[in-house]
Symmetry: C2
Subunit: 198 residues, 2 copies
């Protein structure tokens, strides 16, 4: 036996994680083996609590410790604007910008017939229920700028057109700090289509 069995098992489990290959998993496992027991216990506890303590917000499906997430519970947020995102991780990214002060709605994915993700697999029904409550005046679609994200946006636009809402989609164009020379044709094309008159 090349590697002691508990070490091999830890390597196997670690290499199941995304972007962690066999070699990285081995390095991580050997690092943990050399670390103090308290460090490993802290990691193990944090992973256990990650699964046991976090659930989905009953209103927007953001990650939450309580029944409703901090954003839905906050009294400082504009409850008339709703930003629709694919995943809870997108909320983290948007919150970092400090550009949005409304509420969110996490779809839990995008329409993808090839992966068997249809309308019923996403939290679209719950989105409509929230809009039916009439507090929401504006919906911003912030799905990923790819084929599935675009298809889902188009579907939602069609659906939401029935309601007296302002609907918008976040802009596509050159990323800040990006280089026109190295940007792909689709991005430059979008930047031209979405040009703003000054």
């Amino acid at each position: 036996m090349l590697i002691a069995e508990p070490l091999q098992k830890a390597i196997d489990e670690l290499s199941k994680l995304p972007s962690i290959g066999k070699k990285t998993a081995q390095r991580l496992a050997l690092h943990l083996l050399k670390s103090d027991l308290s460090n490993v216990e802290a990691l193990v506890q944090s992973l256990t609590e990650l699964k046991s303590k976090i659930r989905f917000c009953s209103s927007c499906f953001n990650l939450s410790v309580d029944e409703k997430c901090d954003i839905c519970n906050s009294t400082k947020r504009d409850r008339s604007i709703l930003c629709v995102v694919e995943e809870a991780s997108d909320i983290i990214a948007i919150e970092r910008t400090n550009e949005f002060n409304g509420l969110y709605h996490v779809l839990g994915g995008v329409l993808n017939p090839l992966a068997n993700v249809g309308v019923d697999s996403l939290h679209i029904k719950e989105l409509i229920t929230r809009i039916d409550e009439k507090e929401i005046k504006e919906v911003i679609l912030a799905l990923n700028p790819d084929a599935e994200g675009d298809a889902t946006s188009l579907y939602l636009i069609k659906l939401l057109k029935e309601y007296p809402l302002k609907i918008s989609r976040i802009a596509r164009g050159l990323p800040i700090g990006g280089d026109l020379e190295f940007a792909d044709a689709a991005t430059i094309g979008r930047a031209f289509i979405g040009r703003i008159s000054l």
Copy 2:
């Protein structure tokens, strides 16, 4: 609060691991959050057992489940040859080659005065004890080809010269599949010094 506290904690703990930055840690934590509970439990258990079940072989300081490691316990190994390595992970790398059938001795590091690693911090005393038992006829030094590894090798050579032993050091030269054009000068120089007459 941007990120739910248990998630933030898991991200913090994961990002303490080597080669895992904040962004990777967040991706890993979100992946685990989406995974089945059984997957996370398997990972957590493997990490717990990693620390609780693995100890160091009392003879060679290799990683082991029992008091002596599988290599020291094996009846198929040549007990007259000893290969000295820095870390237990080096044994895994050497065993993969199938070129060595002797026993190992893990130093647990290399001499490094700047990091306060002296002779007493390494398993050098235990190495001498094993050699005193007179079963060993040959010692192969397989430390890393860097400044500390070289210094430690030189120290060990001086120490082992007192004993009736065949002492050798693994060869340095161009790595297999390497390109002479892109090899560094030190490596090419070593390859010339270590040339083998045909």
